[in-house]
């Protein structure tokens, strides 16, 4: 069976810096794949290429057998690729519920005229959107916070809300950029449990960036490693852990920057 997402020789250059260098990677449907690498390795840049925020200089990205290159971000999410952000980017002044409703923007079809006239169909659609949004908030555990303005949510819950917003578009592939960053251990556990439920209950394929090696090892079925924009390793967590180049990348000059978790686990 062919991969859901196929990244082929993708290269992204910023001025003189090659942030993503000829990366090849396949992601199977209904898998959980982690992308790891030191700071500045180009992980977020690769996500940006996948979601249309950046256009790669070279290479091909196939999703469901169709190219994503050159599409606008809103066209890409319409194909079924949604994401969250490393630096939480919620619609700060909106409530949690409204954030998820914006996530469903593409699912809603009623015309603007019917919104002015509040036609029965438009009203029914809005009601359905609302109940789906509440369902998603419940799925990530935020059902009691639906009416809270999102900037006022605790940090960890903002991350959960980003996931709920992304789910609003009913994606088949979800890209999570450091979903557990800045979380305490119990919040991290909650997030990782959510990642599993995403796949098991919603059937979503998950591709995530993560720094915490313990998390990576426990959550993912396969792992890819980036270093200076290049993919230096790929395989099961065990294989990657044993890989000499990975150990070097992590224990090399980067060791000072990486915190203890990464080093102790490799």
């Amino acid at each position: 069976m062919t991969a859901l997402l196929s990244i082929q020789a993708v290269t992204k250059v910023f001025g003189g810096l090659t942030a993503v260098d000829n990366v090849n990677l396949d992601i199977e449907e209904r898998s959980i794949t982690s992308l790891i690498g030191p700071n500045g390795a180009g992980k977020t840049t690769l996500f940006n290429c996948l979601t249309g925020l950046h256009t790669p200089e070279a290479g091909q990205i196939l999703f469901d057998g169709r190219s994503l290159i050159g599409l606008r971000p809103d066209e890409i999410i319409a194909r079924g690729v949604a994401r969250t952000y490393q630096n939480i980017r919620l619609f700060g002044r909106m409530t949690a519920l409204e954030n998820v409703l914006v996530g469903q923007h593409l699912q809603l079809r009623a015309s603007h005229w019917s919104a002015v006239l509040r036609s029965a169909r438009q009203q029914a659609e809005e009601r359905a959107a609302r109940s789906f949004a509440l369902e998603l908030l419940a799925f990530v555990g935020l059902e009691s916070h639906a009416e809270v303005v999102s900037t006022n949510l605790p940090y960890g819950e903002q991350r959960l809300l980003e996931v709920a917003r992304a789910l609003g578009s009913r994606p088949s592939l979800l890209l999570l950029d450091e979903p557990a960053a800045g979380m305490n251990p119990s919040e991290t556990d909650r997030m990782m449990e959510l990642v599993h439920r995403l796949r098991d209950e919603k059937g979503v394929t998950v591709f995530l960036i993560e720094h915490d090696m313990k998390v990576v090892m426990s959550v993912s079925e396969s792992v890819a490693v980036l270093d200076y924009g290049e993919k230096i390793a790929e395989g099961t967590p065990e294989e990657v852990r044993a890989n000499a180049r990975v150990v070097e990348a992590y224990l090399g000059p980067e060791v000072v920057l990486q915190d203890t978790v990464a080093t102790s686990d490799i």
Binding site: D74, G92, H105, H112, V116, A129, V149, T151, P154
Partner: protein, 644 residues
């Protein structure tokens, strides 16, 4: 505690008196004329309101409430918007309400008594022929008479009825009461601010709430009745029947109507009160005179403009300084259709086609869709080149567009008749009736324009509110919050922005058409940059994103200056001072939208939302701290640097 509060209230009264005394000494009442007393009372009420609001929220300590614990500064890194814990106990509105009303009354009485004493002293000094002129040069009969509300002759002859002084005291007391009620009503409306209070079912607080609410709801009707009564020939307010008094009352009545609309409970109460308020508004054009109607007509034309601009600026977050362009397009489109003979080019064209340019091509109503469509096309044409611009750049380019349209009108002499303008634009008719036939007796021609402006504004507000409450409104707001993320969440940026520009422009086109028929003759100078600035200022003053606020903004910015006509040379200064006070007191506008309030509110005001209870302690060390900081929605600089 009581003596402290009483002192505070008396001090407020003294400060108000000092300020009003200064205004009296420089001769302001004489210049305002008949409206002097209400204007001064309003100024006092505004001042009392500011003070009471501050006292009631307990920030300056004169109403000692519970001290608010300050969050540890270090927490701001991890959990923004979380620095306030639940322990912060809010004052009870019941007790606070009684307190506010008491101190409002006390302050008002203090001011009123002092003003009465001073004016009595002045009046008797003048009446007895004492020469105070060399020292107090503005204390002349006209000035004092305006203050007391009698004719200058009565002052000179020393025959002021004593009851007048009592009235003075009463009016300022009423101002204090009004301010207090406004403070109480605001708390009733906003129970979120006082969560403790909602639970308390004490009779005391219930009573005050009910009284404040019903006063608020009844006020517009009482004012309207009074305005109608003033319209009867021979009746006067405070010895004066100048048009500005009625105008001021009309402005206040309209504004209080909006507040009343917010005070009613949804359900049966609303179903009864809202239609009555609408009916009341619709009777206004019939009871006002030509002057008041013409001012109110202009006010509501600007309401339409404000509502349209609000879609672009308030909902979609696109700062448009060239909004007058669409107003001009609407006005000129109707002008060409209605008075083709005024345009040399169009009349020669029509002559070629053997159509007489002497009669209008289209009537008001058939021209309306044309004007709206032309303006919408203008909106899209402006929108396309600025799609990629943000913030300041957008403002500058749109500013240029506004000027370009004006210069076109000025310099395309063949088409637009240049600075000589388009003359004799016809008035809107009704079902084939000529405007004169029904707008003579009971409805003046300006009243007819006012009525149309009122109805169109309501229509525009209806459309704007409904759109904002749909997926389009959410997309606009998402775009305003974070354009990139909105796009990555599925919002089609081009379509969404152009829709905002086009809908905003359509509303401006409607307003422009009505404006053209109100003015009868229009010139390029009617469409200067200042119209854009006025429209923008009124939505900022009123409260960006809030239609009710926009109406209040228009009443304040386009209506109030007409009341102050008498103080012409001080008009702009007075007005500027009012604006500055406004922005200090209510930085988010008079009636801000809920969203705006969250944004501008100080951190200690915003955190008391359900679910924000438990500030989770986080160990912020090393790498995690860095990421957490970068992720905080507030550190935008960091975010921009890192994410791109």
């Amino acid at each position: 505690m009581t003596p402290i509060r009483a002192n505070g209230a008396i001090r407020n009264g003294l400060i108000a008196f000092a300020f009003l005394g200064y205004l009296i000494l420089i001769g302001i009442p004489g210049r305002i004329g008949g409206a002097a007393l209400p204007v001064l009372a309003l100024v006092a009420a505004l001042f009392f309101w500011v003070r009471l609001r501050r006292d009631a929220s307990g920030t300056d300590g004169s109403f000692p409430q519970t001290a608010s614990p300050t969050g540890k500064p270090g927490w701001e890194i991890g959990a923004p918007g979380h620095t306030v814990s639940q322990e912060q106990v809010m004052p009870l509105p019941g007790a606070g309400g009684a307190l506010a009303i008491r101190s409002g009354l006390l302050a008002g009485i203090t001011t009123g008594l002092l003003i009465a004493i001073v004016s009595f002293a002045f009046a008797s000094a003048i009446g007895s022929g004492a020469s105070i002129q060399p020292v107090l040069d503005k204390i002349v009969p006209v000035n004092v008479a305006a203050l007391i509300g009698v004719s200058p002759g009565q002052i000179a002859n020393d025959e002021v009825p004593t009851l007048r002084y009592l009235l003075l005291v009463l009016i300022f007391t009423a101002a204090g009461l009004l301010a207090a009620l406004a403070v109480v009503a605001a708390r009733v409306r906003n129970p979120q601010k006082a969560p403790v209070a909602r639970l308390s079912k004490s009779l005391d607080s219930q009573l005050y709430r009910t009284v404040a609410r019903f006063t608020g709801i009844l006020l517009p009707f009482l004012l309207l009745a009074y305005i109608a009564w003033l319209g009867i020939p021979g009746v006067s307010a405070f010895g004066s029947n100048e048009g500005t008094v009625r105008l001021l009352l009309t402005l206040i009545a309209t504004g209080s109507g909006l507040f009343a609309l917010r005070l009613v409970r949804p359900g049966r109460e609303q179903n009864v009160v809202a239609p009555l308020l609408a009916l009341g508004a619709l009777t206004m054009p019939f009871i006002l005179d030509q002057f008041q109607n013409s001012v109110m007509g202009l006010v509501f034309i600007f309401v339409m403009m404000g509502l349209g601009l609000n879609i672009v600026v308030g909902y979609a977050g696109l700062l448009d300084l060239g909004y007058v362009a669409f107003f001009a397009i609407g006005a000129y489109t109707y002008a060409f259709l209605s008075a083709p003979f005024s345009s040399p080019y169009i009349s020669s064209l029509l002559n070629l086609l053997a159509i007489s340019p002497e009669i209008p091509l289209l009537g008001y109503w058939t021209a309306l869709p044309v004007a709206m469509l032309t303006a919408a096309i203008g909106g899209i044409l402006l929108g396309i080149p600025v799609l990629r611009l943000r913030g300041d750049y957008l403002a500058i380019v749109t500013l240029g567009f506004g000027e370009i349209i004006r210069l076109f009108m000025l310099n395309l002499g063949e088409l637009t008749n240049g600075p000589r303008g388009i003359l004799e634009i016809s008035q809107p008719g009704l079902f084939g009736l000529a405007p004169q036939s029904f707008s003579s007796g009971f409805l003046s021609s300006q009243g007819w324009i006012f009525l149309l402006a009122l109805i169109s504004s309501a229509l525009v507000a209806f459309v704007a509110i409904r759109l904002n409450d749909s997926r389009l409104g959410r997309a606009w707001f998402a775009m305003q919050e974070d354009e990139d993320v909105a796009e990555a969440t599925g919002v089609h940026l081009v379509r969404t922005k152009l829709l905002a520009f086009a809908i905003g422009a359509t509303f401006a086109g409607m307003a422009g058409q009505l404006y053209a028929s109100r003015q009868i003759n229009i010139f390029p100078e009617n469409f200067s940059l200042f119209v854009s600035i006025d429209a923008l200022a009124l939505i900022i003053v009123g409260g960006i994103g809030s239609p009710a606020g926009i109406v209040l903004g228009a009443l304040a910015l386009k209506g109030l200056p007409e009341v102050l006509r008498g103080v012409d040379e001080y008009r702009i200064v007075t007005f500027a001072a009012l604006l500055v006070i406004m922005m200090i007191v209510r930085p988010a506008g008079i009636l801000p939208s809920a969203r705006r309030r969250t944004q501008v509110a100080a951190p200690d005001e915003q955190a008391l939302t359900p679910g924000a209870e438990e500030p989770v302690a986080k160990e912020l060390d090393g790498d995690t701290a860095r990421q957490a900081q970068a992720a905080s929605p507030q550190s935008e600089a960091v975010r921009d640097k890192e994410d791109q």
